[in-house]
Amino acid sequence: MASGQTLCVFTPLHNQPPASNYALLGSRNNQPTLEFDPSTAWDAVFAGVLPRNYSGGGITITLVWAAASATSGNVRWKSAFERIQDGVDNIGSDSFATAVTGSSDATNGTNGVVKYSTIAHTDGAQLDSLAVGEAFRLKITRDPTVGSNIAGNAQLIRAELKET
């Protein structure tokens, strides 16, 4: 597959929330959202299988989000992969790789207007050495330590994985 091609798309309804500090399912204009708190690092977890047409490069995650109320300030996201390898990984416990932190992205001047933020994972450790055809989980976290953190929730509506 050529770089830049979409591998997976996740929506809020795909979330498999962790036991604590999980992003809350919400809605805006009848569109499902995942609500991320401004003060505590909340997580969303998506599960998938790396498509067979993946050619072994890095993976760039695009997060589509909007501020629930904020009209200024920044949001920063983190993402982490967990490889679920045949005969190795135990689904009874988490084994996410170290999270990769995205850039600090300014919210739109109108609340509800979406912003696309990207996080690039290089092939290898940042993908937890995930290989084609293997099951995986992806954890998305809002980083509340970002400078000029927006007030109120960040609402995630899509996550796209593409080959970098």
């Binding site: 805006r28 401004p38 003060s39 109320s69 000029s148 953190n149 927006i150 007030a151």
Partner: protein, 80 residues
């Protein structure tokens, strides 16, 4: 009466931000700026409390005075 603990002030800020989010109410201030406002209001109440409670309101307890204050503020600003 002492100032509220920092953790309590954060809870107030979080609660306020949750209300904003639930109502999709536009807010141009950042989370830290809202925290500074919460802190300033608590500072003001603390500095004013001695004068407020020493007003010559007979019989009433401090909690009753505060309850009346809540009702007066609500009537003036219609926010509660």
């Amino acid at each position: 009466m002492a100032l509220l603990a920092d953790e309590t002030r954060k809870v107030i800020n979080n609660s306020f931000q949750r209300e904003l989010s639930n109502n999709f109410a536009p807010m141009s201030l950042t989370s830290d700026q809202l925290q500074a406002i919460v802190n300033a209001i608590d500072d003001y109440i603390d500095a004013s409390s001695t004068a407020f409670f020493s007003q010559s309101i007979p019989v009433l307890t401090d909690k009753q005075k505060v309850r009346i204050l809540q009702l007066v503020i609500n009537e003036r600003y219609k926010v509660l």
